[in-house]
């Protein structure tokens, strides 16, 4: 598969549902945020220790979810998806919630705000968390702007991103602990 098509050289691109839109379209903006988030998660995966294979598998599944979410965000209506997109449902949100609980059980209780940082993997997880929050805001903007028609999917994506940012916060603490780095509390 070739990387460049030159079909977007003039500032326009195609949504998954086929419409030609400007690259500043809110759906394209939201997809771009998911892409950035996904890339940061990729860095976290690359920084995981060799014995954290299960965590890597979990994060790759989340990366696939983000691809799916991006396709929905750039689909004007469910019928325009051509039946190619898998509907997102609450099942994946449940998986993330259970993962949060699993990691939290292995962490000391949180008694104050903590500063983003620590081991490089934890620091990047914090970046991913912040980007996830921004992606969530962009999806809300997209919803507020009146599109796309896939309202059910949009609402699930909003919940998914809200929960994912919590997951990434806990993940940053968890990978810091795995790497022997303690939380860095905020001293007011």
């Amino acid at each position: 598969m070739g990387i460049f098509t030159r079909t977007g050289d003039r500032g326009r691109t195609s949504l998954f549902s086929g419409e030609r839109v400007t690259k500043s379209h809110p759906g394209v903006e939201a997809c771009g945020e998911l892409d950035e988030l996904n890339s940061h998660i990729g860095v976290v995966i690359g920084l995981l220790p060799a014995d954290a294979a299960d965590l890597g598998v979990e994060l790759k599944a989340i990366q696939s979810d983000l691809f799916q979410a991006g396709a929905w965000l750039s689909t004007s209506s469910p019928s325009a998806s051509g039946g190619l997109l898998k509907e997102m449902d609450n099942g994946r949100i449940g998986v993330i919630e259970r993962a949060i609980d699993r990691m939290e059980r292995q962490l000391p209780p949180l008694r104050s705000f903590i500063l983003p940082g620590g081991h490089l993997s934890g620091a990047v997880a914090h970046v991913a968390r912040a980007v996830c929050r921004r992606a969530e805001r962009r999806v809300v903007s997209l919803r507020d702007a009146g599109g796309p028609d896939s309202v059910d999917q949009l609402e699930i994506i909003m919940v998914f991103l809200n929960r994912l940012s919590d997951y990434l916060f806990v993940l940053s603490r968890y990978v810091n602990q795995v790497n022997g780095v303690a939380d860095n509390p905020w001293n007011k």
């Binding site: 598969m1 070739g2 098509t5 030159r6 079909t7 003039r10 326009r12 195609s14 998954f16 549902s17 086929g18 419409e19 030609r20 995966i45 995981l48 294979a53 890597g56 598998v57 790759k60 696939s64 019928s79 325009a80 998806s81 051509g82 039946g83 190619l84």
Partner: protein
């Protein structure tokens, strides 16, 4: 750590027929559990390497047929060109997003060369009433002409090989030139399948001349 491994389907070559000097069709046995949407493609495995080929059969047909461009000196198409019936093959798939989507917009299919394959599958799957442009060098490369003609509202072969290649009822020129001059302005659902240059040029044309249109595309190399 690796992602899910795509299912590798095992099959065998059933038959082969020549479509033109530079293209042929092969039929494979359909492995149990393999499903696809009209317009999708599969990746045939040759050792560690994969090559992508479009399915021309409809999803409900019992076997799978692929349209193969015979590349002169090409390792894989040359291997497929001489493979004996019964030879084992394996593939992954289905892949691709060039499937027909219901829309109030008039569908316009634009293909170059063997890029026609997805539209053959769609026509065999019952899609009709479309405008189809097939860009080729000579009339001999108008694969599947009769059945596409039967399903299309308008079937327009676009021959770029000069006057000596002319066939009755064909437009002499590129698909892009036809779109510039022969298709009334308006909004359409464009489906593009073929060379990257064609897809780039048609996309620009759509942006300029057919606002409000949709574009679905698959690039063939």
């Amino acid at each position: 750590m690796s992602g899910p491994i795509p299912t590798l389907y095992r099959t065998e070559l059933l038959s082969r027929r020549r479509l033109a000097e530079n293209a042929f069709e092969i039929t494979l046995a359909r492995p149990a559990g393999f499903g696809f949407r009209a317009g999708q493609w599969i990746t045939l495995q040759f050792g560690d390497t994969g090559r992508d080929y479009s399915l021309v059969t409809a999803p409900r047909e019992p076997n799978l047929a692929l349209c193969v461009r015979h590349v002169e000196g090409g390792t894989y198409s040359s291997e497929l060109a001489v493979l004996e019936p019964g030879a084992p093959l394996s593939f992954t798939g289905p892949h691709g997003y060039l499937v027909f989507r219901k829309s109030p917009l008039k569908p316009v299919f634009v293909a170059t060369g063997t890029g026609i394959a997805p539209f053959v599958s769609m026509a065999r799957d019952g899609v009709n009433g479309f405008i189809l442009l097939h860009g080729v060098s000579t009339g001999a490369e108008l694969f599947y002409r009769e059945e596409l003609q039967a399903a299309a509202e308008a079937y327009i072969p676009c021959l770029s090989g000069g006057r000596e290649s002319a066939v009755s009822g064909a437009y002499s020129g590129l698909v892009t030139t036809f779109l510039e001059t022969g298709l009334p302005e308006g909004a359409y659902a464009f489906y593009l399948s073929g060379r990257g240059e064609m897809i780039r040029d048609v996309t620009r044309l759509v942006d300029d001349r057919f606002p409000g249109s949709r574009i679905h595309s698959e690039t063939f190399y």
